[in-house]
Amino acid sequence: MLIVDDSSVMRKIVARSLRQAGIDLEQVMEAGDGTEALGVLRENQVDLILCDINMPVMDGLEFVRQMGTVENAKGVPVVMITTEGSESHVVEALSSGARGYIRKPFTPDQVKEHVVPLLGTKV
């Protein structure tokens, strides 16, 4: 699991929500922006990525577009977690390749609802 957010507090909150939702996290990796996340993916294999949109250096939408350039990242599902909740942002994120969209503030149940179907038997 890779959590991408420029806020370290939010990365911890997302990880905590996953645990509260009963999702067993074998290993959680973190990145502070899209560029850092691409670096993590070049060195590691992950099952799922939870990613913010508004971040410095490289935002979440650009990150999703560039994931195809990293061999390890191909086919890895991405769920956006963001305050940008407008319909146009959702459409843009999904058309960029994201598989899910969670609006902040979010509950552990909302995280579970989006994450579990994408993890399948890996939960």
Binding site: D6, S7, S8, V9, M10, K12, I13, R16, N54, P56, T82, T83, E84, G85, S86, E87, S88, H89, R103, K104, P105, F106, T107
Partner: protein
Amino acid sequence: MSVDTSAAVRSREENWQPILELAVEEVFEIMVGCRVKPVPKSEHKGRGEFTAMIGLAGSLCGVLTVGCDAPTARLIAKGMLGGIATSEEQVSDALGEMSNMVAGNFKNKLTGMDGRCMLSVPTVVTGEEYQFRSLADGETLDVCVLFEGAPVAVRLELHD
């Protein structure tokens, strides 16, 4: 909850006040795990030792601030992080995220804003010896809630 912004033009302050209150209440309940209710700001003067600011640009321009004293900021951060000890950096980060979520939650409740209102990265100022003056020249919405008995002031200052 959703509000037609075209109808709100005649008195944004009046129409948007309950929406901002709801946005604040939801963020506290969901992310901090605490139910809060608005109280009269005049009756609860707090020390603004932590002030988180986030800018809004596009169809809605202005700045939203969240201010409280240092012990309250630490309690908010603890609530968001599930009770684990928090550093000064994490406290600022948490309050910045709170301003981000309140602003985002507020604008997401307004119809007619679709994708045309953007948020900046939050900034957090700490200390008491400063004055904050927004250049926003429009209406101001104030929401004050009590968290663990201490006031948390949320202000949205809008450009016309």
